[in-house]
């Protein structure tokens, strides 16, 4: 029965889902770290408190994503990661620094706290920049030419800005008072970076290959794709409009920018996935060529179908338990 399933496609979908969830979830907590230098010391404690219960599980989606790549597409895993050797190393160092700084900044002697704050921000920045660099290089086909590296450096900056933006919208939702006002201000500035970044990627992606160009601008494919840019534009408009009015009385609609940004990220991701499908190593290796043996995939699929909904359920439980403003986590 299992053999009839399109296992490579299912695992590609699971991989995509994991990456998207990772980018949204770790995106907002990396973003909070990137915004550290703009906040006062007391605000930083609140910012950390707002992501404290979540960051660990958020990062686990990266492990799941890399795990699925490793398990389901071993050849692609090797091909992609050896090409990205240095940016991966930078990202790992960043993730190490910020992950441990979380704990150390609260437990180390007070005179060391500043150093750990720098490690937290610096680590978040390294992770954001290197992930953006990898994204750009992936779009360009994973080869190092001056032109590709230049593009990747741009995407590095834009993804980092996008992370700080979703981080700021998270803070609008989870904080109040001066910090919330600051977060609104950060979001108003950051959204320009998000627009520019999405624009840049959209501008270049169709020219990576004729195949993608045809998927974008050939008929009737263009019609199928058209909802993506239209909905993205609507969402950006909605976020813009809301940001001008926030914070509102009784804190209404503080969740809107964050949720709308998640939808925006999902649309951008869908556009990417649409463009590159069925390739997993751009224009070189398809998911069908790279997939593992069906026996191995089906045994994982059985577990995944049972466990993944459970994971999502208790993750939701965790977000529900820690609902409300982060400041309520204080000693008072």
């Amino acid at each position: 029965m299992m053999a009839d399933l399109d296992l490579p496609f299912i695992f590609a979908a699971l991989l995509g889902l994991s990456i998207l969830i990772y980018v949204v979830l770790d995106g907002f907590d990396l973003g909070v770290g990137i915004l550290f230098p703009f906040a006062s010391e007391a605000e930083r404690d609140t910012m950390v408190a707002s992501i404290g219960p979540f960051w660990d599980a958020n990062e686990t989606w990266l492990v799941l994503a890399i795990g699925i790549l490793l398990v389901a597409f071993p050849i692609a895993h090797g091909a992609i990661l050896t090409q990205l050797y240095l940016p991966v190393a930078v990202m790992l160092v960043g993730l190490i620094l910020r992950g441990v700084a979380f704990e150390f900044r609260a437990k180390a002697p007070p005179k060391h706290k500043r150093a750990w704050d720098i490690a937290f921000c610096g680590g978040s920045l390294m992770a954001g920049l290197s992930q953006g660099f990898m994204l750009g290089l992936y779009i360009m086909g994973l080869s190092y030419t001056w032109w590709h590296v230049g593009f990747a450096l741009l995407t590095a900056v834009f993804l980092t800005v996008a992370y700080s933006f979703i981080g700021a919208t998270w803070l609008i939702w989870k904080t109040d008072g001066d910090l919330q006002k600051k977060a609104v201000k950060w979001s108003r500035e950051g959204i320009w970076g998000v627009i520019a970044g999405m624009g840049l990627v959209s501008l270049f992606t169709p020219f990576v290959s004729e195949r993608i160009f045809d998927k974008w601008f050939g008929l009737p494919q263009m019609l199928y794709l058209s909802p993506l840019p239209v909905m993205s534009a609507l969402l950006i408009g909605a976020i813009f409009w809301k940001l001008r009015r926030l914070p509102m009385d009784a804190d209404s609609y503080a969740w809107v920018p964050f949720v709308a940004t998640i939808a925006l990220f999902a649309l951008g991701f869908a556009g990417m996935a649409y463009s590159f499908y069925p390739f997993i190593v751009p224009e070189a290796l398809t998911i069908y060529e790279a997939a593992s043996a069906p026996e191995a995939l089906s045994i994982i699929l059985v577990g995944t179908m049972i466990v993944l909904p459970t994971i999502i359920a208790y993750s939701v439980l965790s977000y529900w338990i820690f609902r409300g403003k982060a400041t309520k986590l204080s000693y008072d």
Binding site: P53, D56, L92, S318
Partner: protein, 459 residues
Amino acid sequence: MDTLLLSRIQFAANISFHILFPTITIALGWVLLFFKVKFSRTREKRWMDLYMFWVKVFALSFALGVVSGITMSFQFGTNWPGFMETVGNVAGPLLAYEVLTAFFLEAVFLGIMLFGASRVPGWLHTLATFLVAFGTTMSAFWILVLNSWMHTPAGHELRDGVIYATDWWAIIFNPSMPYRLAHMLLASGLTVAFLIAGISAYRLLRGDRGGDAATGLRFGIILGALLIPLQILAGDMHGLNTLEHQPQKVAAMEGNWETQGNVPLLLFALPDEEARTNHFEIGIPSLASIILKHDPAGVVPGLNDFVAADGTVTHPPVAPVFWSFRIMVGVGMLMLLASWAGAFLLWRRGADNLPRPYLWGLSGMSFAGWVATLAGWYTTEIGRQPWLVNGVLTTEAAVADVPAPMVLSTLIVYLAIYAILMVAYIGVITYMARKAAKGEPLPRDERTIGAQAMAVPAE
């Protein structure tokens, strides 16, 4: 140095750094659950104080374990693509099940355990604590299944250079898995026992009269004294299992060159692979034969059996395996001595009146579990060489073709970061112990605010 050697050093550095923290969290999770249940039953403040102190160490260790674990999962791809390409059909599902059944469980419920106490009912917080402990143990289970399979592969077949799973039951319960799992879980228990005993001893030496330091000391000593005989038994059985499946590793552990009877147990020797003999041997006659074969005349395999006719050596490097094994056993013996002497002293004098030199000795052994655990892993992992998967895939065949200078540069960065983090980790635990000894509140910690609230009557 070439890419292979550098990649091996880098992976060894990463995995050595990583394993230190799971070794603490696997057992500490259960210990915290014990403290919490003890507090709910007795309502005695000292159990809550113990929980509050050690939950911070847990959170710190957990974070270090997570970030160093992520590093490893990426290094499979960046440095060892041949591993997944050849045995991915077996290793992949095992790793996937680890992430799915253990990693998420720990990560999500850790948040609730650390600061959910004031937000969820008491039973749910206890359940979260249990699920975190259970998750860390599940994680250890899957990883040790995979590691054991690499030592004693079973339940697979080779087709066109790629491994395919044929029997998952045989893969999971491969011949060395039960022994390795038991040995590692006990190692974790002992590491935590000596960490708690050692840090508590240090607090008492610094004049801590909080009550929880003495309780921690007693808890650590008794746990250590109970586990160490079990560990010696498990280690012995694990060794016999290795003798059956990887005789070349046991030959290196014993420094035994010729297959023969009446093999002495060497206490000291300098193995020389060039001359294929030992220098300056000091040994107890026939004891190795007795331990391994339960017979003084028992024939024990020798290293020279593992040299092919063309001179190719198929046994592991001798000196590192020989010495790592002796360090592990030596620390184990020291633990036996320290914990049993401690148990005797506790019985005679009570936890508040232990002699100061003994307390200093114990605090010096706070991280003794790390030394023994690392030495044990070096014994078994170096002892598997030149194989990555015993008899299936050599380490050399799995390495990535990354330029050596690139590996060297990342290796230097990793080593520098690990050194800093190691100093910071031990430094912060010592700092917390000194603060606690002075009776000062620990630094403001927004991550344990919920747990703080638990000290307030919670039903």
